[in-house]
Every structure is written in C-alpha cells, then in structure tokens.
C-alpha cells in the first residue's frame, strides 16, 4: 500500500462535542424565558432582543476583523448569547442607542480586549448591564408596565418586586405571580418558572452541572431563611428572594458562564456561595434593590484565585482500606 498514513498520538476518537453545541444549547434553554418576555412585553421584547444580538454579533465581527485582524468566529454562538443575556438584563423600553453602547462595552471592552472567548475575566453581559446601570441609572430602572398589569399600574414606570420590597413591602404581588413572572422587571428575568425550565434543559444536556446554580439558590434561601426565622418580615422572606429580581437568570445563565466561573466542583461551590451571600447582602443592606449582577461580577474576579486554591479530588487521595 503506497498511500500515506496519518500518524497522531492517542486518543483517535472525539466525543463530537463542540463550542457551538454548548452555546446553542444555552440559547435553546433561554427560549422559555424569551416566550414569557414576549407575552409580557410584546413586540418590545422581540425588538430589544433582536437588536441586542445584532449589535453584539456585529461589534464582534467588526472588531475581530478590522481591529484584531483575525478570522471572526461569530457562528460559535457566544456573541449571540451575550446579546440575548444583555437584552434580558435591561428594561424592554430602553432607548436603542443606550443598548448599542452596552453591547459595544460588553463585546469590545469586556470580551475582546482580553482576547475574545475563553480569555475574558468578566462575564460580558453582566459587565455590560452594570456599565449601563451606573451610566444610565434612570433609563435602566424605569420599568414598563407589563401587558397584563398595564391597566392597573402606572404606564411609564412600575416598580419591581425588589423595589417594592425595599420601599413598600405592603404592595407586593402574590408569590405565585412572581414565580410565573408576570410582574415587571428586566426583559427576561422575571419568570422563575421559565428560567428553571431552562436549567432543567441545561442539566439534561450536560451543558452545566448543578453545582453553581444550586449553591447560589441554596445560599440565598438559607441566608434569608435564617433572618426570616429571627424576624419574619416580608423583606426576609426567602421565597420572595428566590423568585424575584434577576436571581434566577443570574444563577442559571450568567454565573454558569464557562469562561468566568471556576473549573472544579469545590471551586464552583465556593463561587456559588459567594454570589448568593453578596446578592442577599446588597439586596438587604445595599443602595441597590438588586445585587446579583454585582455579586457575579465580584466573584468573576475571584475565579482565578479560586481555581488556584481548589484542586479536584484526586484519585487515591482518600485511601480506603476496606
């Protein structure tokens, strides 16, 4: 046989898993929350999400091609996710130019200036949201009335659950309403039910493990639960904390970002507990009603340190002589 053989070291087979496969699975998992957003905010939700994706993918393409002078890999899906998540983190009536600025910051500064997918320290969508929140506090916190509650509430800005919790807990909606997500808030964050459905999908497809989302939710429940036992005020009610604000979106989709979360199970648990703790601290005692974004951003910064000090459980470490 004269034909040349390919010689390479083992292994000679591959699972077939790819970066796009994981990214698109995340996008699929976001569909239920998007459907709820469409139902509550109607066309605005579609418009903001579509534009946000367009901006993120567009900026990534332009910057990679013309500034970094590399071959853009926009089809890997990561910029699309940033786009969707950024949209899910803003009010549905946000002016488009502000949204574009947020996308430029998320993609250009947070992601690409560090070298692109895999090299960024902070989650682009989270950092983008915080950038907008600090720069445009008024626009970022005036929530539209939802289509369902529209007639009853102020049409320009209706308070979020966490806002009410902080300032007028007597006006809180029913817990069941919060869980389903028909109260007001950022575009894609409101329906805990829809986001949990996404979590189930991600776990089933083995895109993520339970460690990060579970630890965040458990820490929040435990922390507020203890306070609630001591003093049963509505602002300590763990169920309200679990099902309101951006907690579920953050715990399931933002904190689990591969690039900016720890590698080991131990590390993931420390990271998740940190996020849960900081979130509650900000919610209860901080100036902002919501703290999940800041919590994730802070713990992103700790991820390299956590990776350094948590090693996976090695084979033979716990020797059993049975």
């Amino acid at each position: 046989m004269e034909q040349k053989l390919i010689v390479s070291p083992s292994p000679h087979v591959h699972s077939g898993d790819t970066i796009p496969r994981n990214m698109y699975a995340v996008l699929i998992a976001l569909i239920p929350a998007f459907l709820v957003a469409l139902y509550t905010f109607r066309l605005d939700a579609l418009l903001i999400t579509a534009l946000s994706v367009l901006f993120c993918v567009g900026f990534e393409y332009l910057i990679v091609r013309f500034v970094m002078k590399k071959e853009p890999a926009i089809l890997d899906g990561s910029a699309i996710i940033t786009g969707v998540l950024l949209a899910f983190n803003v009010p549905s009536n946000l002016p488009v130019w502000i949204l574009a600025l947020g996308a430029l910051f998320a993609i250009g500064v947070v992601k690409l200036s560090f070298g692109g997918l895999g090299n960024n320290i902070f989650n682009p969508a989270i950092a983008g949201r915080i950038f907008l929140l600090i720069s445009f506090p008024a626009q970022m916190t005036s929530w539209p009335a939802t289509a369902i509650a529209g007639e009853a509430t102020d049409a320009v800005s209706s308070a979020t659950v966490l806002g009410l919790l902080k300032h007028s807990p007597e006006a809180l909606p029913a817990l069941q309403q919060m869980f389903l997500g028909f109260e007001s808030g950022s575009l894609g964050e409101m329906s805990a039910a829809a986001l949990l459905l996404g979590l189930v999908y991600l776990l089933w497809r083995r895109v993520i493990t339970w460690h990060i989302p579970f630890t965040i939710l458990a820490t929040v429940a435990l922390f507020t639960g203890i306070l609630f036992l001591i003093d049963p005020l509505p602002q300590y009610n763990p169920l309200i904390h679990l099902f309101s604000g951006g907690l579920m979106l953050g715990a399931v989709f933002m904190a689990t970002d591969y690039v900016t979360s720890p590698l080991t199970k131990k590390g993931m648990i420390i990271y998740g507990a940190g996020i849960g703790f900081i979130t509650v601290a900000i919610r209860l005692w901080g100036a902002y009603p919501e703290g999940i974004s800041f919590a994730i951003l802070l713990m992103n910064a700790f991820t390299p340190l956590i990776n350094t000090y948590t090693t996976p459980k090695r084979f033979g470490e716990a020797v059993k002589h049975g």
Binding site: V7, P9, H12, H14, R314, H321
Partner: protein
C-alpha cells in the same frame, strides 16, 4: 446499580463491530519477523544465527535482566537474518527473520485441546514456568507477567483481579477469548492464585458483554474463591487503578503499585497464556487480534502467530479499504497510530483498527473556554487544562505539584474537549519531562 470506578470517566461509542465473530486461526505466512523487544523492559539477546533451523517453541531471544520476557519462534523454518525491522513504535529495532518451512512444533508442547485442570506445581515452579514462557500483559501494556506476580519484599497480595473489561471501543479479542476459552481461563486463574497464594479472585467484566458475564458466573461456581462482577460500561473501566477501585473500593495511592492495596491485576488473555504455558508447556507464540474498522469488509477476531505481517491479517479481513487514513495498533483511545502497516504482530497487538481519512484528522484547536469538562472526566482527578498550560509554559514545579505524573494517558480529556484541544499530547510531554526531573533529583 452496577459497580464502577469513582472519579470521572466517559462513554465513547462502543462500535464492537467484530463482537461474536469466532476466533479464526490465520494461515502461517511464508516469512515472519519476530522483534526482540516486545515488552516493557530490556530487549532480548538473540540466541540463534543465520541458517539455524528452528521449530515452533524454540527459544530465539533470551531475556537479560529481571524485567524482560523470553521470545520464542512462532514458526518452524530457517533463520534468514537478524536485522533491524520497524515495529509499532515506528522505530527500527532488532528482529529475527525466519523463513517458514512446514509447521513443526517442539516435542514437549502439548497441542491437544484437552483441558488440564490439575496443577501440582509449587508457587515458585509456576512463576518459573511463566517467566520461561515469555508471557507479558496481553491487554497491550506488555509488562512481563512473572515480574508482576512477584510482589516486592514485604508486600503481600490479597486478591487477584482479572481484567475482562475490554473498555476500548472496537476491540473484541478478549471478549471472544472469554467466550471460547472460559475453562482454560478459569484454570489459569487458579494457577495464578496459587502462585500468589491468594484465596480470592474477582473477574471484572463490563456489562456490555452479558454473555461473558453469564458464562463465567455459571462456570466459576465450580471454583472456590473466584467471583464474577459485572461492571458499568464506562471508560477507562479497564485501567488498572480504576478496575481495583471498582471491584474493591480501594484506591491505589499516587505513585504506588496495585500491590500496595493488596491487589494484582491480570488480563484474561494473559491468564489464557498462563494456562497454556503451565499446563501445556506452550510458550507465547500466538495471540488473538481483532481486525476492525467502520469500512473494513469483515471485522473479525483472528489467531495469529507472533511475527505475522499485519498486512496478512488485514487481507484476511477483506483488505485495506480505499478510504483508509489511519491504522491503529490497539483501540481508538490508547492505541498507537502506525506509520506503516508493514510491521509484524507482537505480543501486545490486541487489535488493528482501520480508520477512514474523514475520521482520522483532528480538528483545529480553539482557545480553552474553561468549561471544566476535562476536569469532570479525568479518572485520576487531575486538572488537564491546567496541566496543558503548565506544560506549554514549562512550569515544571507546578506541573509536578498538580500530579502530572499520575496521568494514565487514557485520553478522556482530549476526547471530551469541545475546543478540540490536544490536552493529552501536552500532558504526555510534560509528564515525561517531570518524570525526568524527579529521576535526576533522586540520583
């Protein structure tokens, strides 16, 4: 729930195309090339010269040193020359070329099919016979068996573990051998139990071989102390440390031998060879080889004499397919890609896997996205992406601290990486380097 090892693991597509194909003896070729180094350890010294007449079972390579294994002629005929010949490593090494004439066997070899169960030898005599027969680990590792059966001073074996896992995708040679030679393997087990002076043996079989599990469960009843344990289909279930963990719950510590937890592991093929050596006076001159691949016409299990050209085996399976891009000696996870198929079958050739060009090429690597999947699947509990980076930047002290030398090179990390990063390539490199540094420090 089925037993399994406790850290990591993957489940690659099994692709056991040749499962259930009866072992076919392949015709003795016109010429054999028998390498003098077919095992881990020192190469053998040739004890024949050009023009010598040999029979099947004539010693042609004498082992030098303890960690080495004798080499016997697998054919009868005339020694043509002793010269360099390429082996699976791609290097040219010393080998004995023999022109085949007739098929004459040494007289002391019992070639009958009759099962001999009785063995009245002492442990020492058994070990000597195994050493004399040139038996090595037949799963592919080729470590001399008599060395493995001689625990270091002060150590005592408590349990013999029999590896009938065959967790490599595609390969079926062990499975088929278990189905056809169950009695011989069981007698082989009793012999090795006697050599080790242990009262307990466990046969671990992956649960995708339900027929073998059933057969051995039924037959082992007649042998006190021998148990059968079906295992979860999970790679690398057949890794030595993983198998001990799965069957006994004991984990061999980093850097230690299995004997440190009282276990000795032997492959089913090795036990069959032990049976033949001890009961039939037959040295290791042939073995079962799976010839397989998606495009191979008739995937099969062949019994071939050591030294038979791979091409002869491939021809018996229908020839080299047009689409061939890669030929692997062994399985797809840990096997070696061959530079040429003009090499002989050796003691460690468990299979020949022919891969089409389309599947033979690797994809371009992307930046690590830090998904941690390699960490999740590593059966040794290592951090492959970190070890790759440390090797890339030659940070050897940290690589050592992160236990790079524990890597068993199973390939689960590279297999699973969604960014197609060649994790094991780097880790293998770093492991070699760190091992060198550790040796230098000791001297």
């Amino acid at each position: 729930m089925l037993k399994s090892f406790h850290i990591g693991g993957i489940h690659p597509k099994e692709n056991k195309l040749s499962a259930g194909m009866a072992i076919q003896p392949i015709a003795v070729p016109a010429q054999v090339i028998i390498p003098l180094s077919q095992h881990i350890g020192a190469p053998c010294q040739p004890v024949v010269k050009k023009g010598d007449k040999v029979k099947v079972g004539t010693l042609i390579g004498k082992s030098v040193g303890f960690v080495s294994a004798q080499i016997y002629s697998s054919v009868s005929g005339t020694v043509l020359k002793i010269d360099k010949a390429m082996d699976a490593s791609g290097y040219k090494r010393d080998a004995v070329f023999i022109k085949v004439e007739e098929d004459e066997w040494e007289e002391h070899i019992d070639r009958s099919e009759a099962l001999v169960t009785e063995c009245n030898l002492t442990a020492k005599e058994i070990l000597d016979k195994i050493a004399a027969a040139g038996i090595v680990g037949m799963g592919g590792a080729t470590f001399p068996t008599h060395v493995k059966l001689t625990p270091p001073p002060g150590m005592k074996a408590e349990v013999l573990i029999i590896n009938g896992v065959e967790c490599e995708p595609y390969l079926t040679s062990d499975h088929q051998l278990m189905m056809e030679k169950s009695d011989e393997i069981l007698v082989g087990i009793t012999i090795v139990m006697k050599a080790l002076n242990v009262q307990k043996a466990i046969i671990g079989i992956e649960n995708n071989k339900k027929d073998a599990v059933a057969l051995f469960t039924q037959k082992a009843k007649a042998y006190p102390g021998i148990g059968v344990q079906p295992l979860k289909v999970q790679y690398p279930q057949g890794g030595e440390k993983q198998l001990i963990d799965a069957l006994t719950g004991r984990q061999v510590p980093s850097g230690a031998l299995p004997i440190s937890v009282g276990a000795v592991v032997q492959n089913v093929g090795t036990l069959f060879a032990v049976y033949e050596a001890v009961q039939k006076n037959k040295p290791l001159v042939e073995r079962v080889v799976t010839v397989t691949g998606k495009e191979v016409q008739c995937p099969c299990n062949l019994r071939a004499r050591i030294g038979t050209p791979l091409t002869t085996l491939i021809d018996a399976a229908g020839g080299v397919p047009e689409s061939t891009g890669k030929v692997i000696s062994g399985g797809p996870m840990m096997g070696k890609a061959l530079a040429s198929i003009d090499i002989p079958v050796t003691k460690g050739t468990s299979g020949i896997l022919i891969v089409p060009t389309l599947e033979a090429k690797r994809k371009a690597m992307k930046d690590c996205i830090r998904c941690g999947k390699c960490v999740q699947v590593c059966p040794m509990g290592l951090n492959p992406t970190l070890l790759m980076t440390l090797t890339e930047y030659e940070v050897w002290d940290r690589a050592e601290k992160n236990a790079i030398t524990d890597c068993i090179e199973c390939g689960s990390c590279s297999y699973t990486c969604p960014a197609d990063r060649p994790l094991l390539d780097y880790i293998r490199l770093g492991k070699g380097k760190v091992n060198g540094i550790i040796r230098a420090r000791k001297n």
